[in-house]
């Protein structure tokens, strides 16, 4: 059975400016289940945004396919909402108009009042209310712009949300609020989320699974780490969960050391380069006789 979103043998090469080709990643293959929250971690320049552009349908890979819900991804679609790394707001429109721009495209037969009400609701959800929504993006702070961009994507209820470092420019407090909002929206609707971040704690708080990328060029998705902390998660409570530091240490080790060591290597898994599945669980499971194995284990799937 194919996963809901299936990335198959994706390869991306760019001309490197010196006549030959730069391989950003090669034969990357992984899947995302319906309703799953997947976060991808990796160093700057390893190709995360490039993968996301391909998933969005904005760019074509050199080779390989992306299949969503049984259909090959060809070109952008309203079913895949994107929060771009640089916000991509339209500077000549007000904050509110930037959001209604998306809502009108998604629901063309809604009345003007309904469109505005819907947009206002989602702006309020990211903490933008009152006069602010009639200002132009240039009159907003970086964090506010990012929130407008998030509201624009959320308001459209896409089946797949693609988030490229959506909280990068936010202060810790706002970041926390919007992370909670994101979890709430994700819990309410059957949304699948694919998110890029640089923040390990944020990844653990939000994700069902974290994909780890090695350094570029010729990067690959080396590991897929399951986050074995039950939901609902609270940022103050998860740090006390026995798995938290085990997982965190694994991620820090990978990003700090192994991402470099593994760079440029291909797996022995033929040419598909599927990530190694990692499950870290230190909790005792007395009522589960099958789980008597060592607490820390890596399983190849």
């Amino acid at each position: 059975m194919k996963p809901y979103l299936s990335i198959e043998k994706l390869t991306q090469r760019f001309p490197d400016g010196a006549g030959s080709d730069l391989t950003v990643f090669e034969n990357a293959s992984f899947g995302v289940e319906k309703g799953e929250f997947v976060v991808i971690l990796g160093h700057s320049g390893c190709g995360k945004s490039t993968i996301m552009n391909i998933l969005a349908g904005l760019a074509d890979p050199t080779s390989g396919v992306v299949v969503m819900d049984g259909k090959e991804v060809k070109g952008p679609s309203l079913d895949r909402g994107v929060v771009f790394q640089n916000y991509s707001l339209l500077p000549w429109l007000t904050t509110l108009k930037n959001v209604t721009f998306g809502v009108k495209a998604r629901y063309p037969d809604w009345s003007k009042a309904k469109v505005e009400e819907h947009a206002t609701k989602f702006l309020a959800m990211v903490g933008l209310e009152g006069d602010v929504i009639h200002r132009k993006p240039s009159q907003l702070s970086g964090g506010m712009r990012q929130r407008v961009s998030i509201a624009r994507a959320f308001a459209n209820h896409p089946k797949l949300l693609l988030l490229d470092e959506p909280f990068g420019a936010l202060d810790a407090l706002t970041r926390g609020t919007i992370q909670d909002e994101l979890l709430k929206i994700w819990g309410q609707m059957e949304q699948t989320v694919f998110m890029i971040t640089h923040d390990i704690d944020e990844a653990i708080l939000l994700a069902d699974r974290i994909l780890l990328m090695t350094n570029g060029p010729q990067a690959r998705v080396a590991e897929s780490v399951e986050i074995t902390i039950p939901r609902p998660r609270k940022r103050t409570e998860i740090v006390e969960h026995p798995n938290y530091y085990a997982i965190r240490n694994h991620l820090v080790q990978f990003l700090g050391k192994r991402s470099k060591e593994l760079a440029g290597q291909l797996t022995n898994d033929g040419e598909t380069n599927r990530p190694e599945y990692v499950r870290i669980d230190k909790t005792e499971a007395p009522d589960d006789p099958e789980d008597k194995q060592p607490a820390l284990r890596a399983v190849n799937s």
Partner: protein
């Protein structure tokens, strides 16, 4: 004493320069003042040509008062009010200009959207653009025949290039991020053109329109001197033939004022479409 604001200080300085300039001008031609007052009479008696000179500002102001208090009188082909003459010129400029905009903006849009078209049309544009618009006049008069239509054609051909080039340049330079926003929202090509590309390129397009209207107003004066009949350019030339230098100076000032008004209208439009990234 409170310090005056920058704008007020600048305005005061302008007024001082104007007054001083006018006084120097007035003082520079003291001997001719009496002559200037006689000029009209002397022209009528045929003795004016030898004594005609540059008029002092007071005479120009008197002339302006006389003309502007009754700008629309019409006493035959060689004696029309300044308002009528300027009206003719503006009519020609706007007709030629809007025809040019109607061609240049959609066409520039298409060229800007396609790199192939951009490169293919560029050599033609580069050759046609530096041609003085008046150089087209003989050809226009021969082919079109009508002098009125020829003047409009000359305005058309001189205002088309800045608008065409700026539109193509503006459209080609629209940031890919913004086009991607339209793409992820599944907007069709027409909708993308109107809701994303047009507003994104509008500041560049309007800059082109502003340059064009300036050039058109420069050219109309020369064109009307050539084709004659009506218009502010013809008026200047006619008053020169009458050796009425007071009217010549007055109409020169009027050309400047109308040009400034046309430009500031587009300045307002430009301010409306400009955005900060």
């Amino acid at each position: 004493m409170p310090i005056l604001s920058l704008n007020i200080r600048a305005a005061l300085l302008s007024v001082v320069m104007l007054v001083v300039g006018l006084l120097i001008w007035e003082a520079a031609i003291p001997g001719q003042k009496a002559v200037a007052e006689l000029t009209e009479y002397e022209i009528l008696t045929g003795a004016g040509s030898a004594k005609a000179g540059v008029p002092p500002p007071s005479a120009v102001i008197a002339k302006a008062w006389e003309q502007l208090s009754n700008p629309f009188y019409d006493a035959g082909p060689n004696d029309k009010g300044i308002g009528i003459q300027i009206g003719y010129s503006i009519y020609r400029v706007l007709t030629g200009y809007f025809l040019a905009a109607l061609v240049a903006i959609p066409f520039g849009f298409l060229i800007g959207m396609s790199q192939v078209a951009y490169k293919a049309f560029n050599p033609f544009i580069q050759v046609l653009r530096p041609i003085s618009p008046l150089a087209w006049m003989p050809l226009a008069l021969f082919i079109i025949g009508d002098s009125e239509a020829s003047a409009i054609f000359v305005i058309f051909i001189c205002s088309i290039w800045p608008m065409l080039i700026n539109t193509a340049f503006g459209v080609a330079g629209v940031r890919e991020d913004w086009v991607n926003v339209a793409r992820t929202h599944e907007l069709g090509p027409i909708k993308t053109a109107f809701t994303v590309i047009l507003p994104a390129a509008a500041p560049t397009i309007v800059t082109g329109m502003r340059i064009s209207i300036g050039i058109a107003w420069l050219v109309i004066v020369a064109a009307e001197m050539l084709v004659g009949g009506t218009g502010i350019g013809y008026y200047v030339w006619n008053e020169w033939n009458n050796l009425d230098l007071t009217s010549v100076v007055f109409s020169i000032l009027m050309i400047g004022v109308v040009g400034m008004l046309l430009d500031s209208a587009f300045g307002l439009l430009q301010r409306r479409v400009t955005y900060v990234e």
